[in-house]
Amino acid sequence: MSEHFTLITGRTPEQGEGLHKGKDSEAYRSATALVEMNPEDMARLGIEEGQVVRVQTAGGRVEVPVRAGTLPPGLLFIPMGPVANVLVGTDTGGTGMPPFKGLAAEVEPV
């Protein structure tokens, strides 16, 4: 069963560190291939730390491990990078800026 969330993307210290090791490094890949969730949301959906979930938006779909984050209920966070980019669409609303934050997303355990 999937549930509706709001997805934001952004920088993290680990993503920054991975950047300097190279974007083909394992450090960068693992720093950007994850989704943070509110722990109560995780408990309600029966999702455990590290479990792989499917995240889907109008832009695309990815499967990534979950990390408990300090997020309010209903919010998801994915570090900026190749995984987040699959989910972010290209509708810039006439501004040039893609919707990197505030995407409607669904989450379900794989």
Binding site: I8, P13, G16, E17, P72, T90, G96, M97, P98, G102
Partner: protein, 423 residues
């Protein structure tokens, strides 16, 4: 034998911290003092060894790479020139000249960071100040939709929260720090007041603050998840402070409302100047992305999303901005300068860069160099090349190299391309 160079400017982010001590040994940076992890990473990870350019992944002589790049650009009907945020203003100026000569589209990484802020500036003006004024005068700091503790790691210590300045002798104690964000972050831990706004509700909260500053009554209990009593208290603080500064980040520019969010906070700040002194500074990400806005504006009249196809510059965010142009398949070649759109663009736009011939100028390998037809490994401004960069507050600084310049600069490669393309 190693040499320590003092007062080095870090070209990584828009803070352009100018107090680094860089230790150099055998033409490599071996140690960096006072930098954040990102600054240190930039200097230490960079290998300045001259490298050959590549065509289709094969190392070639420079002449062959120039010939192939010029052929691609001359053949293209509608080339896109993009990036410019981690290069010097001297190279940015050359990029404008090349775009003009080619009749190309020209866009910077601003379009995916503070492009909406440029739109806001054009709509309502920019009530601004320098980071020096912040340090010496500000007693109220509002960080809205930004997380400096992660993205601009020394901002708090050097420019905003901590420093003891001329009229801020108490440092941290004499300042009130407000952070507005959709979630607790490393930066909200530093705040005296943390207002947690619902995602996408920034505009409503800012409009409410404008009304409260003007003494209007609000008939609801909460706006955007924040109790009106807290907003009332913030409005009172804003009017009562001696010198307030708002810093805006991508929480505003990338969320629903985009440029309208930024216009609203710029308007709020402008209106606060009826009561006290208040300014706003966008938290610019890359080292010289602010310079890209400056150079493109003084050369063409527009800060980003420009098209020279008609022989004169036309402005079109949403039309000539890189993500839109690529997603619609309108560019038939791309020249990427000092940025990595394959890593940072929405997938549908990034994929297009794999389908069209792409030329990249970059000191480091990236996901974009990996898919490029032609790659020019250039020098890194501020590490092994000199150049000009603009700090996030619009102050221009001279980047000095700490290593000998052994590679061609972006400016030199662009000059060569200009000489080789037809008008």
């Amino acid at each position: 034998m190693s040499t320590v160079i003092e007062s080095v400017i870090c070209p990584f982010c828009g803070c352009l911290c100018d107090d680094l001590a860089v230790e150099v040994q055998d033409s490599r940076v071996v140690r960096v003092r006072r930098a954040c992890a990102n600054g240190r990473g930039l200097f230490v990870a960079y290998d300045p060894t001259p490298r050959q350019p590549t065509v289709d992944g094969e190392e070639v002589e420079w002449e062959r790479a120039f010939t192939e790049a010029a052929r691609i650009l001359n053949k293209a009907d509608s080339p896109l020139i993009y990036g410019l945020s981690s290069t010097a203003s001297e190279a940015q100026r050359k990029a404008v000249e090349l775009a003009d000569r080619l009749g190309a589209m020209l866009d910077s990484t601003s379009s995916v960071c503070h492009g909406p802020t440029s739109l806001a500036m054009q709509a309502v003006g920019e009530p601004t100040c320098t980071l020096g004024e912040v340090r010496n005068r500000a007693d109220l700091l509002i960080f809205w939709g930004c997380n400096p503790a992660v993205s601009h790691a020394r901002h708090f210590a050097r420019y905003s929260v901590m420093p003891k300045g001329m009229l801020t002798s108490e440092g941290r104690k004499g300042r009130t720090v407000v952070v507005v964000d959709v979630r607790p972050t490393a930066s909200t831990r530093v705040a005296d007041i943390f207002l947690q706004v619902q995602p996408g509700a920034d505009f409503e909260v800012l409009t409410t603050l404008r009304a409260l500053v003007q003494g209007k009554e609000i008939e609801v209990d909460a706006v955007g998840g924040i109790p009106v009593a807290q907003l009332q208290e913030l409005a009172r603080r804003m009017k009562a402070c001696r010198f307030g500064v708002a810093f805006v980040g991508m929480g505003l520019t990338q969320s629903r409302g985009r440029d309208l969010n930024v216009s609203e906070i710029f308007t709020l700040v402008a209106e606060l100047n009826q009561y006290t002194r208040f300014a706003v500074i966008p938290m610019r990400g890359h080292g010289n992305v602010a310079g890209a806005d400056q150079v493109l504006t003084w050369q063409s009249g527009y800060p980003f999303a420009i098209n020279f196809a008609r022989g004169y510059p036309q402005y079109g965010p949403g039309e000539f901005s890189a993500v839109d142009v690529l997603a619609r398949g309108e560019a038939d070649a791309a020249l990427i300068i000092a940025s990595d759109p394959v890593a940072h663009f929405p997938d549908a736009a990034a994929q297009q860069l794999k389908r069209i011939p792409t030329i990249v100028l970059d000191p480091m390998p990236s996901l974009t160099t990996r898919v490029a037809r032609v790659v020019f490994p250039t020098a890194c401004y501020g590490v092994d090349a000199a150049g000009t960069a603009y700090r996030m507050d619009g102050v221009s600084l001279r980047l000095r190299p700490v290593l000998p310049t052994a590679r061609p600069t972006d400016e030199e490669v662009l000059s060569e391309l200009i000489a080789r393309v037809a008008m």
